[in-house]
């Protein structure tokens, strides 16, 4: 009997100690890990979109609660003016969700650039949405707060040839981003003041 109690006590104490240690380390490294993941997964797209900004958009970011989810906004400072944000949106593509990072100027709601972050489109066909800037260039300078459609659907965006479904997915992602942007614009503008 004593043996069994000893085993239980030793194992319990050991597990508690290990749990405590891990919780402490997790707490200590959480922010750092989040930064690293942003840097390596979304960083290239964000930096590409906010090219030429004078700050580090990965560091200058804020979160806004939108219903059940939290959305991250990355701030770009141009000419000493924090007037540009990049944020993520999703559209339904050929092989699943297409993740988009969209940069928008808050003064005139114009898209400055966008990029694909994650996708599972057909390599060489739909994947050109990410590797070839042609499609994203077509959105440059357009008003974000409206609905986007590809030309076959009666819209104004030229689809990538052979990848209409993917292009449609990107359009719906940008449209979705426009809706989110419209809903959260006042809060975004409020937060941006802190960076000025």
């Amino acid at each position: 009997m004593r043996e069994i109690i000893k085993m239980i006590v030793v194992l319990t104490v050991l597990s508690c100690f290990s749990g405590g240690l891990l919780a402490a380390i997790r707490g200590g490294t959480k922010d750092k890990i989040e930064n690293q993941q942003l840097e390596f997964v979304k960083g290239p797209a964000i930096r590409n979109i906010l090219e030429g900004c004078s700050n580090d958009p990965i560091v200058d970011r804020f979160k806004i609660k939108d219903g059940d989810i939290e959305r991250s906004f990355f701030v770009g400072v141009f000419d000493g003016n924090a007037n540009t944000v990049a944020f993520e949106s999703f559209g339904k593509g050929f092989g699943g969700d297409i993740g988009l990072m969209i940069g928008v100027t808050i003064d005139d709601d114009k898209i400055i650039n966008l990029g694909v972050t994650t996708h599972s489109e057909t390599p060489g066909v739909g994947s050109r949405a990410k590797s070839d800037p042609k499609l994203s260039n077509r959105f440059k300078g357009l008003d974000l707060v409206k609905s986007f459609k590809v030309k076959p659907d009666g819209g104004e965006i030229d689809a990538i040839s052979g990848a209409t479904v993917t292009s449609r997915g990107v359009c719906s992602g940008v449209t979705e981003a426009g809706i989110v942007y419209k809903r959260l614009k006042s809060q975004v503008a409020e937060k941006l003041k802190e960076f000025k």
């Binding site: 043996e3 194992l11 050991l14 380390i25 993941q37 390596f40």
Partner: protein
């Protein structure tokens, strides 16, 4: 049995060098040694886990009941492996992405469990630290050597720097799984040759 601390350390570098002499921990050895950098990263992670778990097992060897010792070892080892995983994510994320699943798999690396069972559970703390460092360093040297051979022949680079110039046609067999077995086998054979003289 009365070995000095230096002897405990040095034995890991040749006499009991894993994976060649102990032939333990082959899974990460074969899988991650595609390049020198990967091998070195994996080796350092293993040194950390090995030393920490040896210290703790050695400290607790009088308290841990022998019936549940394996469970205790695994809890201790798993804790340190997750510590390494979190630290790697926080500081060397690119390397973490490359090593991927093999970092959490250090938990089931027989070298770590083997040293806890065969050495730290029976020896004092200082000897256990020396043993952990020795075996860990030996493991790292093996991984780096294997990684160097495979990277130089398989992709024509060393630590990412081209060594043969652009005319070199990479021997891609070396960076694939069968190449790892062949390379390990040849190195083991050469070590046995050298040892038998």
């Amino acid at each position: 049995m009365a070995k000095t601390i230096t002897q405990e350390f040095v034995k890991g570098l040749w006499d009991e060098i894993p994976p060649f002499r102990l032939v333990l921990g082959l899974c990460p050895t074969l899988a991650v040694t595609k390049s020198v950098e990967n091998g070195l990263g994996m080796g350092v992670a293993v040194i950390f886990v090995l030393v920490c778990s040896n210290v703790l097992v050695s400290l607790l060897r009088k308290i841990i009941p022998s019936q549940v010792r394996i469970a205790c070892f695994i809890v201790i080892i798993a804790t340190f492996v997750i510590v390494v995983e979190l630290l790697m994510q926080a500081f060397t994320y690119a390397l973490f992405l490359k090593l991927g699943i093999f970092i959490p798999l250090i938990v089931v690396n027989c070298i770590v469990l083997g040293r806890a069972e065969a050495f730290a559970y029976k020896n004092g703390i200082v000897a256990s630290i020396a043993d952990g460092f020795g075996i860990g360093t030996g493991f790292t040297i093996s991984l780096v050597a294997l990684g160097a051979i495979r990277e130089v022949f398989g992709s024509g680079t060393f630590l990412g720097i081209s060594v043969f110039g652009s005319s070199f046609q990479p021997f891609t067999f070396m960076i694939e799984a069968p190449g790892a077995f062949v390379c390990l086998g040849l190195m083991l054979a050469m070590m046995n040759l050298a040892g038998n003289k």
